[in-house]
């Protein structure tokens, strides 16, 4: 019970702790890195190097007035921000952190993540429609269209990985990458997955659902206090999830590159997972700092005219190769 194995209490507590602490720290890390990328220092006043900034932020959000607009649909308004953090946390249940570290070993692990991501779309939509505000409604519409569209390409792009790994189980997918990471045979799928994943988490440059300059703050225009904070935290958990999903699917998860194992498998796995996840988190922050937001028609055109044919072609070729090698 108190040793590291999939589903043990220690494992669950570890995963939950890592995810929540990381999501909170990401608020600070992201702002600090954004500062560095634009030649500023970022928040560095609260605690050493500003590490306690997240606590200050949460304190501010909790003590703020939690206002429900009188014209809003009250129940839906309250439910909407709860959906996204819950769903994102549930997604972490199937993520393999290291050999023996994880909440559950589901044989439909990848589909579980997609199911949860599909439910995550409700958060923005319900927030948008419950606010009874035209900007919020526009944000909700944009979120719905964007997430539905990009979920399609995201799903198709990882089917190549599923074919190569011959499983939906995340741990088996990682184990299947012992001989070589899937990023090389699945490079097109990898590119499509990263772009679609960014759009799916509504992160920059695909933050059209928020679009501060055009529709104020989109679906969370009317939200304040910790309700807004839940949207905020949910977004960061989603970013963390994506930063762990990409290594698991394409970069060998906990496996060390070139056999650079350090210590026992547990320590080595956790270390390499941390390194890979950190790399992708910094990459997402860099993308936020560097790229500009496309127009909505550009987003949709890019999705349906470029990403969909690319991912279908990738699926077709991978299937053909797997079939040829199998026969």
């Amino acid at each position: 019970m108190f040793e590291f194995s999939v589903g043990s209490v220690l494992s669950i507590v570890f995963v939950l702790g890592v995810v929540l602490v990381s999501a909170a720290m990401l608020i600070w890390v992201e702002r600090r890195f954004l500062g560095f990328f634009s030649e500023r220092l970022g928040p560095n006043r609260v605690g050493p190097f500003g590490v306690l900034q997240s606590i200050a932020d949460v304190g501010k959000l909790i003590t703020k007035e939690d206002w429900i607009p009188p014209f809003a649909d009250k129940y839906t308004f309250v439910i909407a921000p709860i959906v996204v953090p819950v769903v994102m946390l549930l997604s972490f249940a199937v993520i393999p952190f290291a050999p023996g570290v994880g909440v559950m070993d589901l044989n439909i692990g990848l589909l579980w993540i997609f199911a949860m991501a599909g439910l995550g779309a409700y958060s923005a939509m319900l927030g948008g429609i419950a606010s009874n505000n035209k900007f919020a409604l526009l944000g909700g519409l944009r979120a719905a269209g964007q997430m539905i569209s990009y979920e399609v390409f995201m799903g198709i792009s990882i089917l190549g990985v599923v074919m190569l790994g011959n499983s939906f189980n995340m741990r088996e997918l990682v184990e299947a990458q012992k001989d070589g990471w899937f990023v090389l045979p699945q490079f097109v799928g990898f590119i499509v997955f990263v772009i679609a994943g960014l759009a799916e988490t509504k992160r920059w440059p695909f933050d059209l659902a928020e679009g501060e300059s055009e529709i104020i703050s989109g679906f969370n225009t009317e939200y304040s206090g910790m309700k807004f904070g839940l949207f905020f935290v949910g977004e960061y958990i989603g970013m963390f999830l994506l930063a762990m999903l990409i290594p698991v699917l394409f970069f060998g998860g906990w496996l060390a590159p070139f056999g650079w194992d350090i210590g026992p498998p547990l320590v080595s796995g956790l270390l390499w997972m941390t390194i890979k996840t950190t790399f992708w988190i910094v990459f997402f922050i860099l993308v936020r700092a560097a790229l500009v937001r496309p127009r909505y028609d550009q987003l949709m055109n890019y999705g349906w005219l470029v990403m969909l044919p690319l991912s279908l072609l990738n699926l077709l070729i991978t299937g053909a190769v797997v079939l040829y090698q199998g026969s």
């Binding site: 044989n107 439909i108 589909l111 199911a115 599909g118 939509m125 429609i129 997430m147």
Partner: protein
């Protein structure tokens, strides 16, 4: 497992009832989503893991989002709620319910008479795929034809 099954079945039936009786469309839709998720849990308890995941991905994650999308576009306000309220008067639903009641009784009798279904084991994605492209290939082809027709039709309408 049977406790899980009955709990989720209860949730599913209750949520569907609530979905029918809600006056606000968004609330009805929320209950319907809950009902779908409960159904997916039932699938999981029966061993159909792949179907359970698809239930959430396709129905709750995509089709219901599309419903909500359309509701957002339609600008349903107070008049729709009034209409809905009129429809929920007993005069509107007593007749059909009385006609449907014997069917429900028959269903209950049939189910209680049937032998308990034994656990068929876990049905994984491979079994589903073989079933789809083996015995049911005609149905799959027909469905794909229908979807293609829908796609072409939507493309044609959108071009105007």
């Amino acid at each position: 497992m049977s406790v899980l099954f009955y709990a989720s079945a209860f949730v599913s039936v209750l949520a569907t009832l609530m979905a029918i009786t809600r006056i606000n469309v968004v609330h009805a839709l929320l209950y319907f989503i809950v009902s779908l998720i409960a159904l997916s849990v039932i699938f999981y308890t029966l061993g159909a893991h792949f179907a359970a995941a698809l239930e959430v991905i396709v129905y709750a994650g995509a089709i219901m989002v599309m419903f909500l999308f359309v509701i957002m576009m339609l600008n349903l306000g107070k008049p729709t709620e009034e209409q809905e309220r009129v429809w929920l008067k007993p005069g509107m639903w007593v007749g059909p319910s009385l006609l449907a009641a014997p069917l429900l009784v028959e269903l209950v009798v049939m189910i209680s008479g049937a032998k308990a279904q034994t656990q068929a084991g876990v049905i994984n994605a491979k079994d589903v795929g073989i079933a789809l492209f083996g015995p049911y290939v005609l149905a799959v082809e027909l469905a794909s034809l229908l979807l293609l027709a829908g796609l072409v039709g939507a493309y044609h309408l959108a071009r105007k």
